[in-house]
Symmetry: C2
Subunit: 382 residues, 2 copies
């Protein structure tokens, strides 16, 4: 018997309470019973998004929600700025180009943050820019971009600010309204502690104005259809919703309400700090820069002389701990420890202990126990 | 304590085995473990679709899969025929128009079948037609359209035949390859006995050729991305898949394999016949015409003098049996008993008994017991 630990930045572990809520007998979606659940879910999502804006849910992965921002807000030929310092910034470029937008890509090294000033400079150069896309918390690199600062710059401009917080919400602070974020999206398999298959999007008044001018084709991901349905006397969805995921979400959101936003963000910050200190104590270099380290996932460089893919494989097969490898250009070069969602201190200590044993076996030269000790110290000092 | 019975044409009841499979601890999707499950699911779906064509899965409702056929196969301005004798035929019109296709709608009364000859006539009139859309089993009316006959006509033409079998597959026969159906779609919450949130689509070689010419924007629902990922050495999905639904689906497909396609189709046919005979014995008129009655759902006219909405409400609140009302123009005029997926004879007898008690209370003049007796006779004669 070996227990298994899922330490990836999505899918993340799902609490048993949520798994079992999803195993309740199926209910029909055009009933008061479902409408009441959906209405509460939308209200709780607004709490988590820190917004009074409309919030829509879709049966889709996070990428579907990213696509929805392109197809609902813009028209072919519209000029937009896409900032990218990782795989998911690049995905926004691909989606925007697939829909015929004219993309000005602000590209950064993957181990650096997006500079909000560059966004301001681009907007100043071209008053015709219709949108700005930013990834808050890059799953591929753990880099946290300062969307608050970007919001400050974009809010006095006609451009719509679209924020991918798929790996952010629930783990790091995201003040949708206070920071002026027009469209924000997340996916279920992250901070929301659900299986994948559901996405949520918030839509500001400014975004609605842009949506009214958009001529790109949309149907399944139409914001108007989604919000018109939610605003009915019996709140609903335009198409059959993922009932079991929404029932599970209502349970997960109850848990999030119980902990409170502040508590959640503090917990994630502590887990991230313990992970970072643990790794550094083992002589491992962190990937994300000191001015942009998020609390959702901690990527680190594979130590010299160690095979990165073998490290991830050995952790999974021999320790039962699934961590993530590097994506795209970082494949084999970094490993990533996810800690967003349903995690506590012992998940971090377990992972560091498993990593220590794995690295001993791979012949890495360090002081075994040093990582766990440093993490313990972090928890003791909190 | 009152047991609850979900007798709607989607969502349909989910077997406990499937519900509990979905409640297993979350696994990561970029692992051999998940790839093996996905590969088996795709193979089993091909069995159910009766096809050797490619089959893709999406995290979406059936409507997302309908949209995928439009965005992957066509270009703005393309001329297509959409046949419609119900709400979901109309939905194809709406989607095709949202994407700028030029739609020739072949419209039929909702209680009649699509005439394949009309499709042939339209194709003969205009060689430029690029696609034909047909709903096999109309959820809103129970009408079964003869897609085999349509396939016969379309196969010698350049047009791509798109078949919505969302409420068909698993309940009625659908020979994708033998009948020449180019793109066929279904949703999880129907014959596949899963919660909603997953859709599957099969794609023929002819459809791939059309896809290569399509210029409509697509990303999330891209067939190419989906199939390229499934064809990898480690089969996967381009974006995070709905892991728990796919794990549940692998369990449901095992059950379907155990029963066998023929057994499944026979069982549904028997359940539908018992339902129809039960209703008719109570003096209730069936909605669907005798030349187009499917085995997925049985709609019937609300008897004169009875309030249709009250009937559905009373069944749910007092008997614990959720049946469906009429949709759109049939609202309040018909009621629908779903029997596709996880149903056996006693679900039908239960529903007829509940309906009898409800109609007695609503003052309908008939012989109580006659519906149940007629259904029993059907089962006895099988």
């Amino acid at each position: 018997m070996r227990k298994r630990y899922l330490m990836t930045p999505g899918p993340t572990p799902v609490p048993s309470e949520v798994l079992l809520a999803q195993a309740r007998p199926m209910i029909h979606h055009r009933t008061d019973e479902f409408s009441n659940i959906l209405a509460q879910v939308i209200e709780d999502l607004k709490y988590v998004f820190q917004t009074k804006n409309d919030v829509a849910v879709f049966a889709s992965s996070g990428t579907g929600a990213m696509e929805s921002a392109v197809s609902n807000l813009f028209s072919a030929g519209d000029k937009v700025i896409v900032t990218s310092n990782g795989k998911f910034g690049d995905r926004f470029v691909q989606i925007a180009e697939a829909y015929g937008l004219e993309v000005k890509k602000l590209e950064y090294e993957w181990d650096t943050v997006v500079d909000p000033k560059d966004v301001g400079d681009e907007l100043a150069k071209d008053a015709g820019i219709k949108g700005v896309f930013v990834t808050q918390s890059e799953t591929s690199t753990g880099v946290l971009n300062d969307v608050k600062a970007v919001g400050e710059i974009v809010k006095n401009h006609q451009a719509i600010l679209v924020v991918d917080s798929i790996t952010g919400i629930g783990a790091v602070d995201l003040k949708t309204d206070e920071w002026g974020l027009d469209v924000v999206m997340t996916g279920s398999q992250k901070g929301l502690m659900l299986p994948p298959g559901l996405a949520a999007v918030s839509i500001s008044d400014k975004a609605w104005e842009a949506a009214s001018r958009s001529s790109l084709p949309k149907f399944y991901f139409s914001y108007k259809k989604a919000i018109d349905s939610i605003n009915k006397a019996q709140p609903t969805t335009p198409f059959t919703p993922p009932v079991s995921l929404i029932v599970g979400l209502s349970e997960a959101l109850k848990m999030m309400r119980d902990e409170g936003l502040e508590g959640m963000i503090e917990r994630h910050s502590m887990l991230a700090e313990a992970t970072r200190r643990g790794l550094e104590s083992m002589g491992i270099k962190l990937f994300a820069p000191s001015n942009g380290r998020g609390s959702a996932v901690t990527p680190a460089w594979v130590p010299d002389g160690i095979d990165g893919k073998a490290l991830v494989k050995k952790m999974k097969e021999e320790q039962g701990i699934t961590i993530a490898g590097g994506q795209d250009r970082l494949s084999g070069k970094v490993f990533r420890i996810g800690h967003l969602g349903y995690f506590d201190r012992f998940d971090i200590l377990t992972t560091l202990a498993g990593l220590e044993m794995t690295l001993v076996e791979l012949g890495y030269d360090f002081e075994p126990g040093s990582g766990v000790r440093a993490a313990e110290e972090t928890f003791l000092n909190k």
